[in-house]
């Protein structure tokens, strides 16, 4: 695969506050790459540096091997779909899409034809003469994509483009974006704080936190083999426990020694152990490797979310079996459901559900407050 963009040792600070801390990232031809992380993690700044709207304080950005640190946005073969679309309100749909071609003084007939083609691709041909301010969120989104794609950029940057859409529309647009990416063969760099969105759409996910890249990998890798507690917690739900690697394939945590599939650690090395809630089986108390008391049960539709107190640590378990609060149960965990991670700065910060509450979780979801533009 051909390398298109390379970020080398990029740092950036605003007013003394570090936003990006020595980032290295390679972006390849024809891939769907997602920058994923909570708000303030530096993902948008990374995107803006690639787009040319910000200058890195340190490090180099290269495009097909050439350093482009000082190349202004209008000279980069990269286009952006902005967070709130940034459609030009004084131009209609057609003129918005035609904007880059008019800038390049493309002949009229050619503009007409190209814009029509592009509007067909995003299924908006019937709205060509409409004012953009009257369009729905989904339609504006399509105009923004068409406008960014018409100049045939090598790379398309998308800054949380689905953030303002409602859930249903969002799912549809995810599929459609993926389809457009496949059809055009253009590299998409997609910024989001929504892990589900990242998992469903991406070829490569870059998990970021506090200006640093935490992990780069395919969705499956990231989910199954998180590199540290932050990644494990941010992607999906996980129980993260303090453990000790006794020897290869043998780990001890929660007062029990488990067989596992990981090796290559020092003997007696302290580690973080990740167990996904859906990988825990509920068994009768006597048969359990671990024993505990159910403290809460929440019905989630497909499954129940059960919080179990095991020696003071609260586990989350997703199960289709019904258990009752205060019931004593046993837990059983298969070796391949146990994932071992080296200790990191994030150890001990995540993975305990003792203060778990669904409502709180939703309240702290960043970026959700932008839904006022949803229409």
């Amino acid at each position: 695969m051909k390398k298109i963009i390379e970020l080398k040792n990029i740092s950036k600070a605003y007013d003394g506050e570090t936003v990006l801390d020595h980032i290295d990232l390679d972006i390849y031809d024809n891939e769907f790459l997602t920058l994923l992380g909570p708000s303030g993690c530096g993902k948008t700044t990374t995107l803006r540096i690639i787009g040319g709207f910000e200058h890195p304080d340190e490090g180099d950005v290269t495009f097909l091997g050439e350093r482009i640190n000082d190349v202004p946005p209008h000279k980069r073969n990269v286009n952006t779909v902005f967070q709130k679309y940034a459609l030009f309100p004084h131009l209609n749909v057609f003129e918005n899409v035609a904007f880059p071609l008019r800038e390049r003084k493309v002949p009229k007939a050619e503009i007409e034809q190209k814009v029509q083609e592009m509007l067909e691709l995003v299924q908006l041909s019937h709205l060509a003469k409409r004012r953009v301010t009257g369009l729905s969120g989904g339609q504006q989104q399509r105009v923004a994509i068409a406008r960014a794609l018409i100049g045939r950029p090598k790379v398309l940057l998308l800054d949380e483009p689905l953030g303002a859409l409602d859930l249903k529309l969002r799912k549809d647009m995810q599929q459609e974006l993926k389809k457009i990416q496949k059809a055009t063969g253009i590299t998409f760099i997609f910024v989001t704080h929504d892990q589900e969105e990242a998992l469903t759409m991406s070829d490569t996910i870059v998990v970021m936190s506090e200006g640093k890249i935490q992990q780069i990998g395919t969705p499956v890798d990231i989910y199954n083999e998180p590199q540290n507690a932050f990644v494990a917690d941010f992607i999906g739900e996980s129980n993260i426990l303090d453990g000790v690697m006794l020897e290869d394939l043998k780990v001890r945590f929660s007062g029990h020694t488990f067989r596992c599939v990981d090796k290559g650690f020092q003997p007696k090395e302290p580690v973080d152990v990740v167990v996904r809630p859906e990988d825990v089986d509920i068994v009768s108390e006597e048969k359990g490797m671990l024993r505990g008391v159910v403290t809460s049960v929440t019905f989630m539709g497909v499954h129940y979310e059960v919080i179990v107190d095991i020696g003071g640590f609260k586990w989350m378990i997703q199960t289709t079996d019904f258990v009752d609060v205060d019931e004593h149960i046993g837990l059983s965990i298969d070796p391949d459901a146990i994932h071992i991670m080296k200790k990191s700065e994030y150890s001990g910060l995540y993975g305990d559900y003792s203060s778990f509450s669904n409502e709180l979780d939703e309240l702290s979801e960043p970026g959700e407050d932008e839904s006022e533009d949803a229409e």
Binding site: Y14, V19, T44, T45, F53, E54
Partner: protein
């Protein structure tokens, strides 16, 4: 996170900065300079002192000429402002609650006299209030006898109220029109009757509008000179007349001294008012 980018450097701000410095700030320095110098531009307190100490005899009574004038200006301006507020506040309220179509119509009707030059508006009142004017001929036709209004303080107040009433109505109206109707409903819901809704919700929320209305009426009325010349009686009726008179007499240093004193007093008054509303509206000096 977004850095504001503009295509131009600081060059875009330079002309205005220079202009503001040369033609807004420096002229104010000149006011102070002239106020504290004599005709030979030597430093002196005489001009300022003259304002406070000059005496003259009016109707056999000796009085401090300029302090009396200043006091009269302040009194008439405050009276006019209060009348404007009393007349304008209900009108602003009625406008804000009217249908959208009617609001537009009333706005236009308020703007028409505002856009007519105030010289013409004042002049119109002069022709009405004159001893031989239309008011008196109307009164005599009714057999009510004549009234002598022109040349009195009352006439000046009428002129000020007439000229500046729109400046009171508009800011209050614009605040009230933006006021969320749900707030009033909430107050009702929480047990307020119409009077207490007005007192506890509408009035405090409209205070910023009231404040800017008051400044927009008080400042031109306290410093006017045309209204008093046409509707008042004498040359040195108000402080504005006094300043203008000294200007016409080419006595620039004393004119500057009076302008300087007026400016200082108004600045202090406005700072005080701002503090007061901040306190009333936000419960403290938040700004």
């Amino acid at each position: 996170m977004t850095k504001k980018q503009t295509p131009f450097g600081g060059a875009v701000l330079a002309p205005y900065s220079l202009w503001a410095l040369l033609f807004i700030l420096v002229p104010l320095v000149f006011v102070a300079y002239y106020a504290f110098t004599d005709n030979a531009f030597a430093f002196t307190f005489d001009n300022v002192a003259r304002f406070f100490t000059a005496k003259s005899v009016v109707d056999g009574v000796e009085q401090r000429t300029y302090l009396v004038i200043f006091w009269r200006s302040l009194k008439l301006a405050v009276i006019s402002t209060v009348i404007c507020l009393l007349l304008g506040y209900p009108l602003a309220y009625i406008m804000a609650r009217a249908s959208e179509k009617r609001q537009k119509l009333m706005m236009t009707l308020i703007m028409i006299p505002m856009w007519m030059n105030f010289l013409i508006r004042t002049y119109a009142w002069m022709t009405i209030l004159q001893d031989t004017g239309i008011l008196n001929s109307f009164l005599t036709t009714l057999g009510l006898g004549r009234v002598h209004i022109i040349g009195t303080e009352g006439a000046v107040v009428i002129g000020m109220v007439y000229d500046y009433l729109p400046y009171m109505v508009l800011p209050i109206y614009s605040i009230m029109a933006k006021m969320d109707v749900k707030l009033l409903e909430a107050a009702r819901d929480l047990g307020c009757n119409s009077v207490s809704v007005l007192r506890r919700v509408i009035w405090p929320l409209s205070l910023p509008g009231v404040l800017s209305g008051i400044t927009m009426v008080l400042i031109p009325s306290v410093s006017t000179f045309y209204i008093s010349q046409k509707l008042g009686n004498g040359k040195f009726f108000l402080i504005g007349d006094a300043i203008e008179g000294q200007y016409v007499a080419n006595n620039l240093h004393f004119a500057a001294a009076m302008a300087f004193i007026l400016m200082v007093i108004l600045l202090a008054a406005m700072a005080g008012m701002k503090k007061f509303t901040n306190h009333r509206v936000y419960g403290g000096d938040t700004l």
